[in-house]
Structure formats: C-alpha cells, structure tokens
C-alpha cells in the first residue's frame, strides 16, 4: 500500500491548543487538486479531514495520521457585484478578505464570528453565527449558492431550493468539500455602529435587556462575570448595537483606515506584547480581579450612554489582542458553548455557574447571546440563548474540566438544548446522539452513503462522537 510522504507531516491542533493531531498536509489550489487528495486517501487507506483557518476550538479540523485537506490556498474572490451585494469566493477566502473587498462599496457580511480570520468554507462547514443570530440566523441562511465536491467525484451546485444545501452546510466537513460559495452581503451606509452599553447586576437584568432589544437592535451580546455568586450571579455588561445611517456618499467611515485597529494601546504599548502580560494574570486569582474590574468599570463608565464604534472593532472583539489564545499556554483552553431554549436558559446558565464555582473551575470569559432555530442538518440553533465559556486547561485539570463539562451537558440536554461542533472538545457520543436525534443522524448517514460511500471524510471529533 502506498504511504503519504513523511515530508508532508505537520502539527495540527484545535484553536484551543488542548487537542493535537499530527497529519499529512495537502494544500491544493484547484478542484483537481482536491480530488487528487481523495485519490491519495484511497491508495494509502487513510482518511481526510478538512481544514480552513484552524479556528475551531476543539478537534473538528484535526485527524491524527490522517490527510489534512487545507483549503486556504483556494482563496480567490471570483465575482463581486456592488449593486446586488452578491459576492462569490473560493472556500479558502477569509471573512477578512470578504469585508475588505466589499466595505468601501457599502456592504458588510451578513453574519460574522467574533474573529475575522476564519475561512468562508470553515464558516459554512460549521454554519457559524454572530451577535445578530436572533435576527439574521446563521451564515448559511445568507448563501445563495454553494459548489460542493464529493469524495465520490461529483461536482454539485446547490441552492436553498435543494435539501442537500442544508446538509452540505453545517455538516462539519463530513459530507463533501465546499469549494465555492455566493454570499448575499448586507447594505450599510456607515462603517460605524451605534453601540449602547448597559451594565447588568444579575441574570434577570441580562435577560431583560435581551428581551427589551431583540425586536429592535441589529446586534446584541452580553458579557458575564462567571465568578459572581448569589444575588450578583450573572452580573455583567450588555451591548446592543444598531447600523447607522450616514447620508453622505461614500462616507470615510467605510474606508480601511477607519476600520483598521491600531496596533498599539494608548499609542505606544504594542498589542503584540499584551498576551504575555495577560498570561501572568491568567489564573483564578487574576481573572477574578479582571472580571470584577470590568464589571465595576461598566457601572461607573458609559452605562446607558450610546457611542459610535466601527464595525470591525465591535464585530471582531477577539482580534483586539493578537494571539490572545497564547495566554492560555502551555495547557490551552476549551470553549464550552451550550444553546438552551428560552424557557429554561436562565435556570440552566445559573446552575452552570454554580457547578463551575463549586468545582473551582470558573470560566475566565463568559459570553451570552440570543439565537433562533434553523433548518440546517447539524444545527446548533435554538429559539433561546447561548452561553459560551472559556475554561483554562492544564495537564492536571483536564479530567476535571471534562467532568464539569459532562455534568453541564446533562443539564443542557434535559432542557432540550443543543451544542456547537465548532467549539466542542468534550461531548460524549451519547450527548451528540441526544441533541442531534436519530432522524438527523439517519439523514447524515444517508447523505454520506451517497456522497462519500468509502467514508473518506472524517475528523477526530467525528470519530469521538461516532458521527462517521
């Protein structure tokens, strides 16, 4: 049997740096190149994992000893129509490439993640959401056409009229390779948003803010202090934001130099250094203080005072500190995000906080968002809320963090909640079966039998969860 060349081996890990898996890297630039990777897989008896920017936190884009199909070199912008706002790109194009290409014409991506670095292919594989998930849904809902290459060699163009469209998007790269997509951008007349910060004393106030603005605001997000207990449990800072109308033609706010974040803080302190300082505080003691300081300043400064903020600064908060994830070295971190129907969300999130505090494994960063359900196959959407929690992992704490995650899973499943494969590193196979349901899994298997009968596409996550 043929083997891949040892020279192709390389390190691959999830964004959270907890799970790693060395594989053989292939970086095709064409559809023929993609098909060639499947041929190598057949000849060598290996499986293929798809990978974009590697921004999935867990093990979705790694496969130990597998062939890594890295699509980042297929990143051309193929067509852009500034009158209709339709952009067609190859799957390796990043969200950053897309907004930089369209913003000066007055268009912004309909849905973006908290970082601009993911590829569109990866974003569609996971069907990502943004801070406007409750009104705009997931990114797949704004796609008018995708091209999918199946391991069996078919080349398909799918539109929202095809059932397979809702399976190719959201299926974590397990069915076929999305090589091209057309995205309907959102019209904006200003590069700024009007942002309203509201300090919240507890979970009641957080939920009240979401309910108050959900019919009106264009974006909503809540930051929560996971260390606060008792009556203060759920305290934090809520932000609502609205697109601004600027009557001027081609306002300067749409220009790159208005959007680009400065690379220093206060004009002199280089941001590239920040993670090294953050690392010193990246422990329970330091993070308790930072969360407290952030909450306290939210009460004293800016509460209830709307201010303008650029689209980039508001949307891509995670990019504000370059390489912030390194502050979690050497052990890395996981992000645990659960999606809970609105009736039970308050109870579940409060209980999740109690469990973390009891285990002395509080999340260092907790983010709260409103969502809606959608019809995509491996959907994470619910008519309810999500809470994303970053947990530091060390060699010693990893089993405890996993145990905590499993206890929190039980709560989420009891409430009819869901999970998100882009974040997951801790689900058990039974958790995945429970939230996805037998019918969904049967549909996944049926489509897999059609598009990938040899089972060439896989991932460490899919193997862990029994999805392939």
């Amino acid at each position: 049997m043929e083997v891949p060349s040892n020279q192709r081996i390389g390190e691959a890990m999830g964004f959270g740096m907890v799970v790693k898996g060395d594989g053989y890297w292939y970086r095709p630039t064409s559809i023929d190149g993609v098909l060639e990777v499947f041929d190598v897989a057949r000849r060598s008896g290996r499986k293929v994992v798809q990978r974009g920017a590697g921004r999935s936190y867990g093990d979705a884009a790694i496969l130990p000893e597998g062939l890594i199909l890295d699509l980042r070199r297929m990143n051309n912008i193929l067509a852009w129509d500034p009158t209709s706002g339709l952009i067609t790109v190859e799957a390796g194009a990043t969200i950053e490439q897309i907004w930089r290409h369209t913003l000066e014409d007055g268009w912004w991506p309909p849905v973006v993640s908290g970082t601009m670095y993911p590829t569109l292919g990866g974003a569609l594989a996971m069907n990502i959401h943004g801070k406007n998930a409750y009104c705009k849904g997931t990114i797949g809902e704004h796609v008018t056409e995708v091209e999918v290459i199946t391991p069996s060699g078919q080349r398909l163009n799918l539109t929202p009229d095809d059932d397979a469209f809702y399976e190719a998007i959201s299926s974590a790269g397990l069915l076929g390779v999305i090589t091209r997509a057309t995205l309907q951008m959102t019209r904006v007349s200003s590069g700024d948003l009007r942002v309203l910060p509201l300090s919240c004393a507890n979970w009641e106030e957080q939920f009240a803010c979401m309910e108050r603005f959900e019919g009106d605001a264009d974006y909503m997000v809540g930051w929560v202090d996971a260390f606060a207990k008792g009556k203060s449990c759920g305290r934090g800072l809520f932000h609502a934001a609205w697109y601004l109308d600027e009557p001027a033609e081609r306002p300067s706010s749409l220009r790159m130099d208005h959007q680009d974040l400065p690379d220093t803080i206060l004009g002199f302190f280089p941001k590239s250094m920040v993670w090294r300082y953050l690392k010193k505080l990246n422990n329970r003691w330091g993070m308790r203080k930072i969360n407290w300081a952030k909450y306290t300043s939210s009460r004293l400064l800016g509460h209830g005072k709307p201010h303008p903020q650029s689209l980039v600064a508001f949307s891509f908060l995670l990019d504000y500190v370059p390489n912030w994830q390194n502050a979690y070295l050497p052990g890395g971190f996981i992000q645990y995000q659960s999606f809970v129907p609105k009736e039970h969300a308050r109870m579940v999130f409060a209980e999740q906080f109690r469990m973390q505090q009891e285990a002395r494994l509080e999340s260092f960063l907790a983010v709260f968002k409103r969502h809606r359900s959608d019809r995509f196959l491996l959907s994470h959407g619910v008519d309810g809320y999500s809470l994303a929690l970053d947990f530091k992992v060390t060699e010693r704490s990893w089993p405890e963090v996993r145990r905590l995650a499993h206890r929190m899973n039980d709560l989420v499943l009891e409430a009819g909640g869901r999970f998100y494969l882009a974040k997951d590193a801790t689900l058990r196979p039974e958790d995945a079966r429970a939230y996805l349901g037998e019918e969904t899994l049967a549909r996944l298997r049926a489509r897999k039998a059609e598009w990938d009968p040899e089972g060439l596409l896989s991932s460490a996550q899919a193997e862990r969860l029994g999805l392939v």
């Binding site: 049997m1 891949p4 040892n6 081996i9 390190e11 060395d22 130990p64 000893e65």
Partner: protein
C-alpha cells in the same frame, strides 16, 4: 510514569529493546516493536495484545525504512518516541580483522540507526515535538583493542545523535544518547560479564532519562570513570588491556 503514548522501538526482540517495549506497554503506551525475528515479536504481542504490535523488519533493509516508518506511525495513530536499540557485537579475536563482521556492525549499529532516526527527525522537525533515543555504549568512548569496529560504530552513533540534537532542539525535539555499561542481554551473554545490569533495570533507567536530551550514562560512577578513560593519554592507554 511514562508520558509517551505512541512509540517505535527498533530492535525489540531481545535485550534492552524488548524490556523497553514491555515497560512502555505497561504504562499504557502503544508500541510498534520492530525486529527481524517474528516469533519473538509474537511473544510480545501476546503479552500486551492491546498495546504492542510487531513489525517484522531487518534494519539493514535500508530502502524499506521510509515507507515502513509512515505505515507504522499510521498503525500507531501518532508518534512521540522512537528508540533505536538494534545492535550487534560478533566475537572478534585479539588479532582478527574480519570485514564481514565489521560490516554487519556498521550496518546494524550505525546505518540502520541513521535510516530510522532520519525519518524520525523529518517527522519531529515538522511536528515540533517528539523524543529520539539512541542506545550507544560506553564502548564508544575510546577505540580499544578488543572491538575496534564495535567501538567505532557506537562512536558514530554518539556523534550522529549529538548532531541531531543540535539540529532539532530548536524545534522542541528531544534527542537523548544512552551510554549503557555492561547489561545482561543476548548480545553480551557469552562475555560472562560480572556485575552487569539486568536489562529490565536498564530499560527503566533509559525511560527515566529519555526526556533529558543529552548524553546519559546509566550509573552515576560511569560519568567519572569514562571521563578519566576518555582523557587517558594515548601513549599510556595503548599499554592497557582494556
């Protein structure tokens, strides 16, 4: 307690290699046991069916190594440790110069190591992690009357491993040279070595020293003794019967 999860042990059918394979398997590590003698490998597999699999290979089949290496890491599901233990030391008379014997020592002790450890180096340089362990010998410290080519083959291995260490340390790769003294193995059985270390003890020490990334003796006294031997004036050394 070993932190290794996937290991290749080359020369695992007897002696130090066999004990290393067993020890690693006991700590839950998956081990690819590479050796020529398939009956010995089957024994190892039977002892730890969930953790050990045998790879039948003669280390002098150099051309097979690149393919076999990748195939083996695929079966292992990853790789973080490679130990090269293969070694031969045929009996050589005090005034014997036998090219066939000398060639076999160079091929097994030196060239086989280069064939396997080059592949390990390529992989670990790219994955930016991993540990390479080579079993050298105190016999490689000086050229001695009894075993000219055995001495030279081990000296080759020491220098090669030192160079690998210097190349790879910047990629986070650990390269450790083990210089055992006399160990009770099949290779040394005919020598009736008094006070030789049991192979199992040697294996335990080797695993403990593997993360150190330097030249390691297995006995604390060896460091001093072999420092003296290494620096012994050559005019006097030739008069000794060591």
């Amino acid at each position: 307690m070993s932190k290794y999860r996937h290991a290749i042990v080359v020369g695992a059918s007897s002696g130090i290699g066999r004990e290393l394979a067993l020890l690693l398997a006991e700590t839950g590590c998956r081990v690819a046991a590479v050796a020529r003698r398939s009956d010995r490998l089957e024994e190892l597999e039977r002892a730890h069916p969930d953790h050990v699999f045998g790879v039948v290979h003669d280390v002098v089949a150099f051309d097979d190594v690149p393919g076999l290496f990748v195939e083996t890491t695929g079966r292992l599901g990853g790789l973080d440790l490679v130990v090269y233990c293969s070694g031969v030391m045929p009996e050589v008379g005090p005034s014997e110069f036998d090219f066939a014997k000398d060639r076999s020592m160079i091929e097994v002790n030196a060239l086989g190591a280069v064939a396997w450890l080059n592949e390990a180096a390529i992989r670990f340089q790219n994955t930016k992690s991993g540990t390479i362990v080579g079993i050298g010998s105190v016999a490689g410290e000086r050229g001695r009357v009894g075993q000219p080519v055995y001495n030279a083959s081990k000296a080759f291995l020491h220098t090669y491993l030192e160079a690998l260490r210097n190349r790879l340390s910047k990629y986070g790769v650990t390269v450790t040279t083990i210089k055992p003294g006399p160990v009770q193995t099949e290779m040394t059985a005919r020598l009736n070595l008094a006070g030789a270390m049991p192979a199992k003890d040697a294996a335990r020490l080797i695993l403990a020293k593997a993360p150190l990334g330097r030249d390691c003796f297995l006995k604390p006294t060896h460091r001093l003794i072999f420092w003296i031997i290494r620096n012994f004036p050559t005019r006097l050394f030739r008069k000794l019967k060591v």
